[in-house]
Symmetry: C2
Subunit: 470 residues, 2 copies
């Protein structure tokens, strides 16, 4: 036996001996009981109803945002969480006061639109300018400055349309990058078609971002019927002049907070399953599907687990994240603050895609923990949840930054058909939440969180564990 062979023989068993993470059979039995109890639970509904009714819209940085934190702290305490605290999150404070648009010529009439987050205001008395339309960001990029300068740039190819293969990501690119690109070419303002699938006059907001050194300009989304109308008028070939009056903009910095509650584990309380949703909402609706429901699902699931006769080994930590909408501020702050001790966050799942049924499980964990995820999938199957064993699962929007610094992720993918019709619009209200589907979500979260918290072995969380390959 040569030395190299000996070395290999010594080394290989060490690698192979990295013990697989397992789920005890007793835990599977408890999970099945949790699942049934969750399907009859009403706490998630009560939290969704309470937050959307008693606080309502809660734009990050607004007075209502502060009331939402107080509401959430009180609710966590009333539910008996072992520890409730906040961690500050600072971000630019953007405000929306009023918004109005009209076609001045050739066919005077109002248009329904809504400013994008971080949009600048129009000058006092509003802004009048001619519209110039582009088919895409690439076409705008290719345009000469003279074709853009002083005009209102419009891109209308952002409607969500499954038949045409256009989704939310594609439209969000235009929303995120279009205003800055238009401004860099001297545009007076930027308009896009709502990034949504609905023929409703309620426009879809969302955040945009101006690159360093590029002046913020007024930027807004037309509802789909209004975008249709503008396009019909543009097609007639006469110059189209709009008047925009947007009273909105950044007003300094604001320090809000992530609101955090923990249910202590039985034997390894310093390790925790990380779950939650985001506490802020856009101001147009009451943020029921985006994301009161998410907070409610995570909280109700944690609460059910806390009621068990025997707690799981590890803790459950619920975070109501600050200012997700304008740029994942709460999630990024959490990742930064907890980066060094990220191994303590054994696995994470956030709920931020509405309240409709969970249809699929995916996860990103170390290979030795795949068998434990298989067991979680087995416990979720009675809820009609499929398991895609090969797809990644980063755990949700606010957890993307936490995953990026090394937390293992488990994603419970919802049916988002109705979510994309309503979120970011005035239609995001409680009537859109379906109690039975909400309960199925609670059941799935309770099962996954409990089993992971009770697992023998970890899921691979450690600093830098899941960094993307360059």
């Amino acid at each position: 036996m040569r030395l190299s062979t000996l070395a290999l023989a010594l080394a290989f068993p060490l690698v192979a001996a990295a013990a697989p993470t397992t789920i005890p059979d007793a835990a599977m039995k408890t999970a099945a009981e949790l699942r049934e109890r969750a399907l009859a639970d009403t706490l998630a509904w009560e939290i969704t109803e309470g937050l959307t009714t008693e606080v309502g819209p809660r734009l990050a940085g607004s007075e209502a945002d502060a009331r939402a934190r107080e509401w959430m702290i009180a609710r966590f305490k009333a539910l008996g969480f072992d520890k409730v605290w906040t961690e500050p999150v600072t971000y630019p404070k953007w405000v929306r006061r009023s918004e109005h648009a009209e076609i001045v010529s050739p066919f005077p009439q109002p248009l329904a639109l809504t400013a994008l987050g971080y949009s600048a205001a129009t000058p006092d008395g509003g802004l009048r300018a001619e519209v110039v339309a582009f088919e895409s960001l690439e076409a705008l990029q290719a345009a000469a400055r003279e074709a853009v300068e002083g005009r209102i740039v419009y891109i209308g190819t952002t409607r969500m349309d499954e038949k045409a293969g256009r989704g939310y990501g594609q439209g969000s690119q235009v929303r995120g990058r279009g205003p800055s690109l238009a401004s860099s070419k001297g545009a007076a303002a930027f308009l896009l078609r709502s990034v949504g699938p609905e023929d409703t006059r309620l426009p879809h907001t969302g955040v945009t971002r101006f690159e360093d050194g590029v002046a913020a300009i007024p930027a807004a989304a037309l509802s789909n019927p209004d975008a249709d109308q503008l396009e019909r008028i543009l097609k007639r070939g006469q110059p189209v002049v709009l008047r925009l009056a947007l009273d909105c903009g950044i007003e300094g910095e604001y320090t809000g907070a992530n609101v955090i509650a923990e249910m202590r584990g039985r034997s390894r309380p310093n390790e925790y399953y990380l779950t939650g949703g985001h506490l802020d909402s856009w101001d147009l609706g009451t943020g029921a599907v985006d994301d009161a429901a998410g907070i409610a699902i995570a909280t109700a699931a944690a609460h059910l687990i806390a009621q068990l006769p025997k707690r799981p080994a590890r803790s459950i930590r619920v975070v109501a994240f600050a200012n997700e909408e304008a740029g994942l501020y709460g999630g990024r702050e959490y990742a930064e603050k907890h980066r060094k001790e990220i191994a303590r966050a054994i696995l994470g799942s956030e709920s931020d895609a509405g309240s409709d049924r969970i249809v699929k499980l995916t996860a990103t964990v170390k290979p030795e923990a795949r068998g434990a995820i298989d067991r979680i999938a087995e416990a979720l199957a009675p809820l009609g949840i499929e398991y895609d064993r090969n797809a990644p699962g980063a755990g949700g929007s606010d957890l993307s930054a936490v995953h990026a610094v090394g937390m293992a992720g488990l994603s419970l993918h919802q049916d988002t058909t109705r979510y994309f019709a309503w979120h970011h619009t005035a239609n995001d209200t409680l009537d859109k939440v379906d109690l039975e589907q909400l309960r199925q979500n609670v059941a799935a979260y309770a099962v996954a969180m409990y089993l992971a918290a009770e697992a023998k072995g970890d899921f691979g969380s450690k600093p830098g564990a899941f960094a993307r390959k360059p």
Copy 2:
């Protein structure tokens, strides 16, 4: 033979001999051709698209209302109608400038509402008052003045709900009579839940009416989700204070016009089939289903008939009625002006329930003309239109007054499911119009109008003919 018997013998044949109105076989053949041509026609779409795009919202008495008349006159002329004219219609001019509502306490947040037609404005700076809710007009009627005085009266039982058996008529009663009743008891304002079936944040407007001697007060409709929200908050039992700021009201009188176009008949041109729709719309949407489509259907059907190698015996008259929405002003003016010569209007059908498929035919005609209606029903059957031979048919909203002074009526009832979801809201826009269903409407109108205009004999129109029995 006694003299009396002789008289009876002479008289009886006269009564029996009142000749039945008939439809010639050749006309049935032409109607079948018209039907097929209508199903491939695009004129109704072009008119709907043109009026909603080039004029847009056209509140009666507004500057856009005047533009709509010019647009319609030009369109009728361009289509080659033999005569195009206007007949003045005068009414109170109501304007809407802005509207805003919010919950002041206990849970501050905005509410989506829209003022009702003829609502008064709130005082400068808005109105703050506590809400008092009633289950019905009867409950409000029974309330003591002290329970109402200075408060905002709310009635929330007005949602359209087929399962609960509540329809548009029931809600419209509350809308029409509630504000005046509340004002008579000293209420500061009146709110109701939108008279519509949709969970959308777009409230449903419509007209109200203050009785003589009763002061107009601010009156508005909350969207259904906002009404739900208000009710959830009221249920919590604390006093609920709202702030309303409605800038709207009556600004003197306005004289608009019915815009009328006629296609001359071959042999009896002084007699005419009366059809049309209303030219005004509520200002929230572009009035596509209510009622650009109606005008388009009637106009396109008349135009198809005008293109026949041989015109029907009688004329076809299309009326774009003025100010239907605030109280049938155009229809009532037409009835008054043409009352004495109403026998010339042999039969009438107006389209004012959207652009979806016609599902049923009914008519109110003299008994001797029932056989001719049977023949029309036969010609409509291939379009999937049922025939309810026993139900009345007054011809449509604007024609109700004309029918009341003696015009025979034929009603082509549409599937109104989608119509009631959208009309009177900002969602009444062109995207809601379905080309194929619109064409089916044109086919039905063309067939009915042609056959009646070509009938041998009349349908019973004469002054006072169809007056309701007391």
